[in-house]
Symmetry: C2
């Protein structure tokens, strides 16, 4: 029976790491004493196997554990459960990476539109893309639409809802989408609006359908709140729709961000994955950010690449540095940093987009 490889980083000492890795392999597979299993097929095919342990120094070890593909049921929620369900409760273990065989990858068709689809959508040939966020929540739809209008005038490619915008009384989803979409249509520009889709799967489907009726063709989802399986079901149910993902509830490094926000979000259908850039309000290191961007873009069983979207307290004066770090296959997101311009929002947006355009091919 075929196996996937889950890669964990474990804080341990050299004396106990073998035993710790073995107990992790059991926890993430049969979750019971192996000696009490009398079925030879289960012992052979299902019990997790420690394949390799490497001492990374400083009391950290990397363990490669082979888990049976069959246990995942070829379903994203159950895949996460098998990779990290119980072990997420153990302080000493981080889920670092997962190598999935082609047989399992077939269950994960990846992005509907991908990096190229995003670029075509806004006519951003040969350059990085730009993005901003509608905030603050609490504003009525008309005021958010007015902000979107000024961002569009400044040439922003993608305007996403703040991930805090949901289906609230002060800004109901349907009214907000109608108002923002109408404002952007009037500009005649290719600006793409991504409303934030929330709630249970049924509510999310209804919202995507409403958005589609307004001509919207990209939306924002938070997979760790929606549940990975529901996110994937939404993506598959709307094959012409594009999906940007937000990292809320992704936790602090319990699952390595390149795996979760990069590989897994892309496999389940993210076209563009927002993550906290290094040097902003969050603690991701440059190495984490680089690995995350690579997980979005490197060849993966023919799946479309996703756009990495570094964000989280970015400003226009970091554009050159970010482009030289990420390259042009990237979407730069500046939210609060533009909104700070107040009445001069359109000018601030224009300065941002001009800077990206002038940077040209990397």
């Amino acid at each position: 029976m075929s196996r996937l490889t889950a890669i964990y980083r474990i804080r341990s000492d050299a004396r106990t790491i073998d035993e710790r890795a073995r107990s992790l392999a059991v926890e993430q597979s049969v979750e019971m004493p192996v000696e009490a299993i009398d079925d030879p097929g289960v012992r052979e095919d299902i019990v997790g196997r420690v394949e390799h342990i490497a001492d990374l120094g400083d009391g950290v070890f990397e363990a490669r554990i082979a888990l049976a593909v069959a246990t995942t049921g070829a379903e994203p929620g159950q895949l996460l459960n098998m990779l990290y369900g119980n072990s997420s409760i153990h302080e000493d273990v981080t889920l670092w990476d997962a190598e999935l065989p082609d047989e399992l990858l077939r269950a994960f068709p990846g992005p509907n539109r991908g990096l190229d689809g995003l670029r075509q959508r806004v006519g951003a040939a040969g350059r990085a893309m730009t993005c901003s966020a509608l905030k603050p929540q609490g504003l009525p739809p008309e005021k958010l639409a007015a902000i979107a209008l000024r961002m569009a005038e400044g040439g922003i490619d993608f305007i996403k809802d703040d991930h805090g915008l949901a289906d609230q009384a002060y800004s109901p989803f349907a009214r907000r989408v109608a108002a923002v979409a109408a404002a952007l249509r009037r500009t005649g520009r290719t600006t793409c609006y991504l409303p934030s889709v929330t709630g249970n799967l049924e509510q999310m489907r209804a919202q995507v359908a409403q958005a589609q009726e307004e001509g919207v063709d990209f939306v924002l989802v938070t997979p760790m709140i929606a549940g990975l399986a529901n996110f994937q079901a939404l993506v598959r149910g709307f094959p012409r729709m594009g999906f940007m993902t937000h990292p809320a509830m992704a936790g602090a490094s319990r699952i390595a961000p390149p795996l979760l926000l990069g590989k897994l979000f892309r496999l389940t259908g993210s076209d563009a994955t927002v993550f906290p850039n290094h040097g902003g309000r969050f603690g991701y290191s440059p190495a984490t950010c680089k690995a995350l961007a690579e997980a979005c873009r490197r060849p993966c069983a023919g799946r479309r690449p996703a756009a990495p979207v570094p964000a989280g307290g970015m400003t226009a004066d970091r554009v050159d540095e970010m482009l030289s770090f990420y390259g042009r296959d990237t979407m730069l997101l500046i939210g609060g940093g533009l909104l700070q311009a107040g009445e001069r929002l359109a000018e601030a947006a224009a300065a941002f987009t001009r800077r990206v355009a002038e940077a040209g091919p990397q």
Copy 2:
């Protein structure tokens, strides 16, 4: 506009805690520079407010932050997003508790059956309840049914699927449920089987409906994989069904377990919440376990109490100690510890249930 109170524990120093708490209040509300917000309504009603900061010693502070109820959209996924979405990515912050006003609680009807419903279901008047788990995964339905039969013969009240059992080729959900339910029916006992329901909301609904056709009236769900909003939709959609919850993907203390596995799971519909008991394979402290059990059972806006289900490497020789710690309004779960008995499973189960019965009222 009414407010809820989110309570965070922050690692900080005394010099910077005021500023850190303020930035947390902004992150979890408007997520942009407050000085750039020109709408007085948003500044007054929506921006998070630091209400109190307490120095807990050892570089840990507790901050009480008032967030606008309106931002939650009265929806469990968005509530989690507002409580902790972005801040889950910050290493220095734990979401410790949340105080929700009645206005918001109305959106969360809580358990369908509750502690009393569980007790009535299995005729466990005046004593704690017992539970075990069908394992290992990899076994075909018939073998799992044979294990369930022996557990039932030993008098176990509740037999849950291992949370690793999903809808896998070697044990498809429908066949497993039919086999186990049939085996238990033949015993003539009140034993209650809880199959593990997985996948996206649509798949979970189909599975619950299949289970219902087999006469099953309780199921197991993992809300942090399903998504809280989907879990709640499932509970509301099957008002006669009971729901046990599993803590997989609940993470290691990023959200205090009494809040997540106790209060929030109960509010969204958990009748019985499985959690790692202290002194087992996981790191919860006695104080955490006690607080979690209290969050399940204490009066809460008229919601039914849920049963705390301490588990995770428990053995029958801890029964007396656990009952004196938790009291009888508890369900004790021993999984692997019973299965270790192999051929003598029924006897081991009987020894466990006898011990609980003899402990009598606490």
